[in-house]
C-alpha cells in the first residue's frame, strides 16, 4: 500500500469516549440498514444530550454518516461509514437522496415509448437491447429497471401488454411471450373518456347531497349551468 493511499484514510481526530464507542457499536451493528436516532436512544439507554454529542463527534470523525430514509424522510438515520445504505433505506434504484427521481423515470418512459412506436411490437428484452445498442442514456439502466418502467407505462395506459400470437406482426416473437405495443388510436388523447365523467354528475363532489328538490338539485346545479352555458 502506498503512502498516498495511507494518507487518504480517515484518521479519527478526536478521542472517543465511552458513550461514543457505545453509539458507534450500535450503529455498526445495524450494518446497511441504518438506525433512527430515536431507536439509538432506546438501544443505548443514553440521554438525548449525550447521544447528540456522540453523533456530532462521530460525524466529525467521519466514522458515521447521515442518510435520508426514503420512506421516513423526517427521521434522521445514521449508518457506519464503511456501509452503503440498503435498498430499503434509499428506496431502490429510482430514488436519489430519498426522493423519487421523476426526471429520470420520465426520461426513460419517453424513450421506451419512442422505441415501442418505432418497433411496433416489442418485448421487454427487445426494449432493453435497443437501449444497450444505441446507448440512449448517460446512466446505465438494468433490464429489471426497463421492465419496471414498461409495467408502469401499462398501468398508465400509455402502452398495452399483449401475449404474442406468433401471427402477423408478432411473427418474430415466440407465441405466448409478453410484449408491448401502443394502444390503438391517438396516444396523446389518453384513455377513453367514460360516459359518466362526460357529464357534471360523474365527478360531482356533492353528488351524495344532490336530490331533486334539495338545496343541491339538478335544476339549480352550478356545474350544470356552467356545462350548458353556450
Amino acid at each position: 500500500m502506498s503512502l498516498l493511499n495511507k494518507r487518504k484514510k480517515p484518521e479519527p481526530k478526536a478521542v472517543l469516549v465511552e458513550s461514543d464507542r457505545k453509539v458507534l457499536e450500535v450503529i455498526k451493528s445495524k450494518k446497511e440498514m441504518a438506525i433512527w436516532s430515536r431507536d439509538l436512544k432506546m438501544e443505548t439507554n443514553l440521554s438525548d444530550v449525550v447521544i447528540s454529542k456522540s453523533l456530532k463527534n462521530l460525524l466529525n470523525s467521519s466514522l458515521i454518516k447521515e442518510v435520508v430514509h426514503a420512506q421516513q424522510k423526517g427521521r434522521k438515520h445514521y449508518i457506519a461509514a464503511e456501509f452503503e445504505p440498503s435498498k430499503e433505506v434509499t428506496g431502490g434504484s429510482w430514488y436519489v437522496n430519498g426522493d423519487l427521481d421523476t426526471a429520470f423515470i420520465d426520461q426513460l418512459k419517453d424513450l421506451c415509448l419512442k422505441i415501442i412506436r418505432k418497433l411496433k411490437v416489442v418485448t421487454a428484452d427487445g426494449v432493453y437491447d435497443f437501449f444497450k445498442t444505441n446507448r440512449l442514456t448517460n446512466t446505465d439502466c438494468t433490464s429489471q429497471q426497463i421492465s419496471e418502467i414498461l409495467r408502469s407505462m401499462v398501468l398508465d395506459n400509455m402502452i398495452i401488454d399483449v401475449k404474442s400470437t406468433g401471427l402477423g406482426e408478432y411473427h418474430s416473437i415466440p407465441i405466448g411471450k409478453l410484449c408491448y405495443r401502443c394502444p390503438p388510436g391517438d396516444v396523446n388523447q389518453g384513455p377513453k373518456k367514460g360516459a359518466l365523467v362526460s357529464i357534471p354528475c360523474g365527478v360531482c363532489p356533492r353528488i351524495r347531497e344532490c336530490t331533486p328538490d334539495g338545496l343541491i338539485s339538478p335544476t339549480t346545479c352550478v356545474y350544470y349551468n356552467k356545462w350548458l352555458d353556450f
Binding site: Q71, L167, I199, P212, T219, C221, W227
Partner: protein, 558 residues
C-alpha cells in the same frame, strides 16, 4: 393479527342500510334505479300510476289490498293504475295459493310485481326504434312504434291503427294489398324476434312443498332463480315454440290462441278459485285473451342487439376494425342460436363459417382467412393444435368486464388524478391484496402520496383495507372492493340519468316561458339565437342521456 378496518361504525351503518334495502326489493334494484323508474312512470302515466309503481318497486310483490293499504289510494285508482302498468309491460301479475286462517280452506290471491328493467326500457325506445328503422324501414317502424306506444296490441288493433293513419291513401280495392303488406311486415318483426306474444296475464303458481320452502328461505337473496318473482315470470312466458309464431288466419277476430290456452303456463284453476278484489279486470282480461293474441315488443332481443353492438365497439376501439368485423360476423352467424342475453361465450363456429359471414359485409370483403384467424386469436381464442375443424368461440364476459373496468377507471382518473388511476388499475388487475410499499414501487408514486391516495379511495368505498401487525411494524394491505364499487357506479349512473331527465324538464319549462313571451312577435336575430341555444342544450342533454344509458346497460344488462 388482523384488524378489519371495514368494521368501523360508519361502514357498518351504511352497509346495513344497503342490505336492508336489497332485502326489500325483488331484484336488488339500486336506490336511484327506483327513483328513475318512478320518474319515468310519472312522466308517461301520471302521479297516481307512479305511486302504485313506486309502492311495488320499494315493497316488492304485493296483492291489490296491500297496494291499497300502502298507497292509500281508492280501489278504482289502484285497479286502473295496475291495468295501465300491465298494458305497458311494467307489472306482471300472478296467482298463488295462500293458507286460510282458522280452519278456512286455502285461498287464491293475485299478486303484482313491478318489472324494473321493463320500466327503464321506456327510456330506450328511441334506440329500439332506430334499430328497427335501420333494418326494416318505415313500414315496419310504424307497426313497431304502435307497440311501443300502446304496450300490447293485437294484430287487428295494429291493422285498425294502420288504417286510421292512412285513411286518405287507401281505397277499398287496395285494402287487401295493404293487409298483406302489413302482415308481411309484422311477420318480419316476429321473425327477427323484435316482437313477441305477450306473457300469460295471470299464471297460477303451484304451492311449493314445505321442505322446498325452507330451502328457498335459506337461500333467499343471491339466488334469484328460486324466488317467487322468477317463478312467476317463467310461468307467464309463452312457450318458445309459439313465442314468435304468427298465425296466418289470425287476422280475423276468430283466431283463438289455442296453444297458449292449452299451455300449462296459462292454466288457472277457475272453478276452485276464490276471486279477489281484482275480479272485474281479470275477467275482462280473460275474455280479451280468448279473442285475440296480444303482441308486445321483445325487449330481450334489443338488449341482446345492443350488447353485441357494445362488444363490437369495444373490440374495435381496443384492438382494430378487423376484430370488430369478425365479431359482427360471429354474432350474425349465430343469431338464431343464442339462448340467453348474457351469453358468456359466443356460439362455437367454424373458421370458414365466420369467414364466409365476414365476406358478406363490404368492409370484410378484403379479409383473408389468415387475417380472420389472427383477429380471433387476438380476441383471446387459442389456436387449435390438432384437428381438422378450426372452431372458435369468443369470451364475451371478458370483453364486457374490460369495458366496465374502463368506465370505472375513467371516473377514478377524472376524480382522483393520474397517480390514483395507476394505483386503481394495478388493484383492478387482480383480486388479491397489495401492500402499500409494493403499490408505491410498482406505480412510481412516493409512499406518502400513495398512502394519501389509498386512504382517499378507501374513504370513498373503492378499497378494502386490512392492517397486519408483524414484528413491531404495521403493514397495510389494500384490495379493490369490486362488487361494491360496481354497484355504486351503477347507482351513480341512475342518479346522473335522473338528473339529466330532471334538467331536461327544467330546460323545457324555461323554454316555454321564452316561447310564450315571443308569441305573436316577429322573430328577430336575438330570438333566433336564444332558440338555437335552447336547442343546443336539449341536444347535449338528450345525447348525454343516451350515452349514459349505454353505460347503464353495460353495467346492468350485459
Amino acid at each position: 393479527m388482523f384488524r378489519d378496518i371495514n368494521a368501523t361504525p360508519r361502514r357498518r351503518g351504511r352497509d346495513h342500510c344497503r342490505t336492508k334495502f336489497s332485502a326489500e326489493t325483488p331484484d336488488m334494484t339500486s336506490p336511484y334505479g327506483i327513483k328513475l323508474s318512478v320518474h319515468l312512470i310519472s312522466t308517461y302515466f301520471g302521479d297516481i300510476v307512479s305511486k302504485v309503481c313506486e309502492c311495488l318497486l320499494r315493497k316488492g310483490t304485493l296483492s291489490h289490498a296491500q297496494i291499497m293499504h300502502s298507497t292509500e289510494l281508492s280501489k278504482q285508482n289502484v285497479t286502473n293504475s295496475l291495468l295501465v302498468l300491465i298494458q305497458h309491460n311494467c307489472v306482471q301479475s300472478f296467482a298463488i295459493q295462500q293458507p286460510g286462517g282458522f280452519g278456512e280452506p286455502p285461498k287464491i290471491v293475485t299478486k303484482y310485481m313491478a318489472l324494473h328493467d321493463n320500466i327503464i326500457h321506456h327510456m330506450r325506445f328511441p334506440k329500439f326504434l332506430s334499430i328497427v328503422s335501420n333494418e326494416f324501414g318505415q313500414d315496419c317502424t310504424e307497426i313497431f312504434e304502435g307497440l311501443l306506444q300502446h304496450g300490447r296490441l293485437s294484430m287487428n288493433q295494429i291493422m285498425d291503427r294502420h288504417k286510421d293513419k292512412h285513411k286518405a291513401l287507401v281505397t277499398d280495392g287496395e285494402n287487401s294489398k295493404v293487409t298483406s303488406t302489413l302482415h308481411e311486415n309484422f311477420n318480419k318483426l316476429a321473425q327477427a324476434r323484435y316482437i313477441e306474444r305477450c306473457p300469460a296475464h295471470e299464471p297460477f303458481l303451484e304451492p311449493v312443498e314445505e321442505g322446498a320452502k325452507k330451502r328457498m328461505a335459506k337461500s333467499k337473496i343471491g339466488d334469484f332463480s328460486q324466488t317467487l318473482e322468477a317463478r312467476a315470470l317463467a310461468a307467464a312466458a309463452p312457450m318458445e315454440s309459439i313465442r314468435f309464431l304468427v298465425e296466418t288466419d289470425a287476422w280475423s277476430n276468430g283466431a283463438l290462441d289455442d296453444d297458449s290456452k292449452n299451455s300449462p303456463s296459462t292454466k288457472i284453476p277457475g272453478e276452485k278459485r276464490k276471486h279477489d278484489s281484482l275480479e272485474p279486470e281479470t275477467e275482462s282480461w280473460a275474455t280479451n285473451k280468448n279473442k285475440e293474441i296480444l303482441w308486445r315488443v321483445n325487449f330481450e332481443e334489443f338488449v341482446r342487439r345492443l350488447r353485441h353492438k357494445s362488444c363490437v365497439s369495444h373490440v374495435t376501439t381496443r384492438m382494430d376494425s378487423v376484430a370488430g368485423i369478425v365479431l359482427t360476423a360471429i354474432f350474425e352467424a349465430s343469431r338464431k342460436d343464442e339462448t340467453k342475453v348474457k351469453m358468456e361465450k359466443t356460439v362455437p363456429l367454424l373458421l370458414e363459417t365466420i369467414f364466409e359471414e365476414a365476406m358478406k359485409s363490404e368492409e370484410g370483403r378484403s379479409l383473408t382467412l389468415g387475417r380472420v384467424r389472427g383477429s380471433l386469436v387476438q380476441m383471446g381464442c387459442e389456436l387449435p393444435t390438432i384437428g381438422i375443424d378450426e372452431i372458435y368461440s369468443i369470451d364475451l364476459k371478458t370483453i364486457i368486464d374490460k369495458a366496465q373496468t374502463l368506465e370505472v377507471e375513467s371516473v377514478v382518473l377524472k376524480k382522483y388524478g393520474r397517480e390514483a388511476y395507476r394505483i386503481f388499475r394495478l388493484l383492478s388487475e387482480s383480486e388479491r391484496s397489495f401492500e402499500t410499499d409494493k403499490i408505491s414501487a410498482t406505480t412510481f408514486v412516493e409512499k406518502k402520496d400513495a398512502l394519501k391516495i389509498l386512504f382517499q379511495l378507501w374513504k370513498d368505498d373503492f378499497l378494502h383495507m386490512e392492517r397486519i401487525e408483524a414484528q413491531k411494524t404495521e403493514i397495510m394491505l389494500w384490495k379493490l372492493n369490486k362488487r361494491s364499487v360496481w354497484e355504486q357506479v351503477l347507482d351513480d349512473m341512475y342518479h346522473a340519468a335522473l338528473n339529466l331527465k330532471l334538467r331536461l324538464v327544467h330546460e323545457l319549462e324555461q323554454a316555454k316561458d321564452i316561447l310564450r313571451v315571443l308569441k305573436g312577435k316577429s322573430l328577430g336575430d336575438e330570438v333566433l339565437e336564444k332558440r338555437r341555444r335552447v336547442g343546443d342544450k336539449w341536444k347535449v342533454l338528450e345525447a348525454s342521456l343516451m350515452i349514459l344509458d349505454d353505460a347503464i346497460m353495460l353495467f346492468h344488462h350485459f
